[in-house]
Symmetry: C2
Subunit: 237 residues, 2 copies
């Protein structure tokens, strides 16, 4: 970790997938210090180098094995397929720093068990985020967010460069401070507005929306996102 007191790195766990890479890229450009975590440290370093190259020389991006990334940060962004989420969190539990914030973007797509990406699995706890909350140490705050951002758009379409996104991020958590920090991180992505989605239990709805958008993308070859309309300006941040 950097010696600078103000630096609070974000560890993107399972960060070599499209969503992790895209979030890391956008945050690196916004001046955040990013640690890409992966099972394979070399893969993490390679992904970090790729993001560094896209984000420019001022960007702060490194790559580490997942547990080392957890130990080096107290903001953890989890971007793994649902079928790997529980096993990974059980493995990482001892490495998670006390008082960390875990931001979970996991969607329980049926595709993870051989079904369709436009369908979801029922999760006993109600949502993937609530499953995560059960698996992390008790003093870790879990936030559900970033499910509905198009990874393609985050990474920049070849024909459109790095256009701003046209999507809101709905943030659900039982910890208001962790939710606020997450909304601030969301708002650092150009074009993104952050919204208070209420308690963590509401993640079950936000996660489902992703499956609906995937179905629309399949039907229309798009990069669907959502905007919430009709709320007063103070609701968006």
């Amino acid at each position: 970790m950097s010696a600078g007191a103000a630096v609070r790195p974000i560890a993107v766990i399972g960060g070599t997938g499209p969503l992790g890479m895209g979030l890391a890229l956008r945050w690196a450009r916004a001046g955040e210090t990013i640690i890409i975590g992966s099972r394979d440290p070399q893969r993490a370093q390679k992904a970090a180098a790729a993001i560094q190259q896209k984000a420019g020389p001022q960007a702060q991006v490194s790559g580490m094995e997942n547990a080392a990334a957890c130990a080096a940060a107290d903001i953890l962004m989890l971007t793994v397929p649902f079928e790997g989420q529980a096993a990974l969190l059980k493995q990482l539990k001892p490495a998670i720093t006390e008082g960390s914030i875990l931001i979970d973007a996991t969607v329980p797509l049926a595709a993870g068990v051989g079904g369709r990406a436009s369908r979801t699995l029922g999760v006993w706890q109600g949502s993937a985020a609530q499953q995560a909350a059960e698996l992390v140490p008790k003093d870790v705050s879990v936030v559900a967010a970033f499910h509905n951002l198009s990874a393609d758009l985050l990474n920049g379409l070849e024909d459109q460069g790095d256009a701003p996104l046209d999507c809101d991020v709905i943030v659900c958590s039982d910890d208001p401070d962790a939710a606020q920090l997450t909304r601030e991180l969301a708002a650092k992505i150009p074009g993104v507005r952050a919204l208070d989605g209420g308690k963590l239990e509401n993640a079950r709805i936000v996660e489902q929306i992703t499956a609906l958008l995937i179905g629309m993308n399949i039907r229309h070859k798009g990069h669907a996102g959502i905007r919430v309309t009709g709320l007063p300006p103070g609701a968006y941040r």
Copy 2:
């Protein structure tokens, strides 16, 4: 029913509630012939007169008891609280015309059984719309739509008149023709775009979104709706 061959009335079943009144008002203004259905025929007629007054003298609005309304139309718009949906459909089954289209906007809010309006009930069939499909005659096509429109905005806020809505309608059905007709009806409401939400089973996601929006309305005193972004222009109609 009118003698005009081109007239295909829409019966708004349970149409004296805020969503039914709002849809009826907007469709009456767009030139559709509307039958308001209610358990109580006098209440239906009173609601029809109120809509007639708001929509203007050219509007075609009448009121009937629910079963008579069903018998007089083959486009049925169901706008009832979830806790009344199954009993009403069982009662109306003999009155539903062969080959009718039933558009269902029911959301299984937990508020219907004493819980919160920002939470939903699990429905055995997957969604309120799929429950409806099980209860109507076999030759009736069920479409799920109009869940996420603000009834307040449809009816016109006092301080804003009848502004266009800022909301998309996601339409789910196993019958492509019924879905298309429903999308055309949605697009007759100013500001509304209609989207193909896929098969009826996807209604389970669209219904949930309403509960999420209700939670946001409670937190922020708004009239939340959703827009789907990132799809090619042909996806909206």
